[in-house]
Amino acid sequence: MNNTEHQTGKASTLQVAKAVFWSFLGIRKKDDLDRDAKMIKPHQVVIGGIIGGVIFVLSILTLVKVVTS
């Protein structure tokens, strides 16, 4: 995991998704954070964050629909 030689490489979609997911919970390991900070570009965070936000809202909505139906 600690492939520092890759620090200029672009983050994969999965890595962005993971970072966004953990940010919603508010927990993250220090190593992962360092890696995120090195590899994820700001626009990736923004786009990932927006998609994550939409998914978050939709899943609460689904839950609410299930509860009320």
Binding site: L25, G53, V57, I60
Partner: protein, 524 residues
Amino acid sequence: MAVVQDVHGHHDHHPSGIMRWVMTTNHKDIGTLYLWFSFAMFLVGGFLAMGIRAELFMPGIQILEPELFNSFTTLHGLIMVFGAIMPAFVGLANWQVPMMIGAPDMAFARMNNWSFWLLPVAGMLLISSFFVPGGAAAGGWTFYPPLSAQGGLGVDMMIFAIHILGASSIMGAINIITTILNMRAPGMTLMKMPMFVWTWLITAYLLVLVMPVLAGTVTMLLTDRHFGTSFFNAAGGGDPVLFQHIFWFFGHPEVYIMILPAFGIVSEIVPTFSRKPLFGYASMVYATASIAILSCIVWAHHMFTAGMPTVGQLFFMYATMLIAVPTGVKVFNWTATMWRGSLTFETPMLFAIGFIFLFVIGGFSGVICAIVPIDIQVQDTYYVIAHFHYVLVSGALFAIFGGVYYWLPKWCGRMYDVKLANMHFWLSMIFFNVAFFVQHFLGLAGMPRRIPDYSLQFADFNMISSIGAFGFGLSQILFLYIVIKCIRSGEKAADKPWEGANTLEWTLPSPAPYHSFETPPVIK
């Protein structure tokens, strides 16, 4: 780097006397101005609070006519939120952010001056509105229409003041963002930034996001009042509930704007006096970001009684309760930082621990308010008042006190009277709880907020609350005395008065030099 050059150009030619303060572009001078301004506003808002509690000391109407009472509650809220708490945090940011990231000054030094000097104008507008025909705004600090559509000149002055305050906040936020992103010392990567800087960075983004919404809201109110529009006027096809939606779309993130920098301060103080690094730094950064994002999708928990489909109620209830998760992560991390640390209880640490303890109570009562069936009972009662004073007074304000006691030796090169400062903490702590804990019971028993008179069964608890409030108010005069005594005749403070501290500002001499880091420090 042109910015840095500019700062150096002005070196040592700054005017003296009053003009030093009017013309200053120095982050420390401006920080000082912000802090004194917010303390002055704190006294004004406190005076209004004393008036409110004096009227509520006994049932019946003794001191304030109902209309004036309503103006007191309205202006108390507005002045405390926009005049005291927010400028105090901006003042702390002005002083600390450049020092903590190893920069010589803020990025936009002149804009910094302007964003401060707008504040006294807005403050004067709010205060003087008491003396215009019709009196000050009286529709609550949330100024819902139709009440705010009806008031007189006082409401227009309030609208204007909010416009100005919003402009000032946006400029301050842009300045802070630019400073943090561009002026860090070499080696100070984002992930090495102190938590106070991180929380302010995220707060500044929140400010830029929601202050324009507030500006839009008050502008719509203004055009409804004077230019014949009907955004919020049902008779003209508008909808007063629309106001509540856009107000709270601003309002809920706003409450987090007032608490995230407080989280930052506590995250500096707790590690210092536990002599351990902050537990879960990465988690703290993510939790702060998470709280900021979530805070934008929970606003309608303030409107459960305004009429909403069940689906909407449940959505906002679940979303609000989820916010408690990252907040809980933070509390866990502070506690874990103290766990098995070698703790000492200097004044800043006392305030930080007081913060953690009481903020948790406020957080819990918040979650209780978020439960729809309960909120329908307690909405607009003293329970809500108790909730938000636990998060704003023992939360935001205690953190500000903690921050001042933490950094004051660095600012003025002198140490304050520790005995008196500890006394200030204990008096504040005790009287705060006397004043506000009983309000939970009043609220549960059904006492409505914003009412100058009440039924007899509420009498005892109100008297206790008023006594606590007077005590709390008086204790703050002690704070003023402590600070003045420190500036005038405190003992010389060491460069690093707290042995456990290790952020950059402690590498500077005390008092900190006029320009913080002329040559950027190198971070390992």
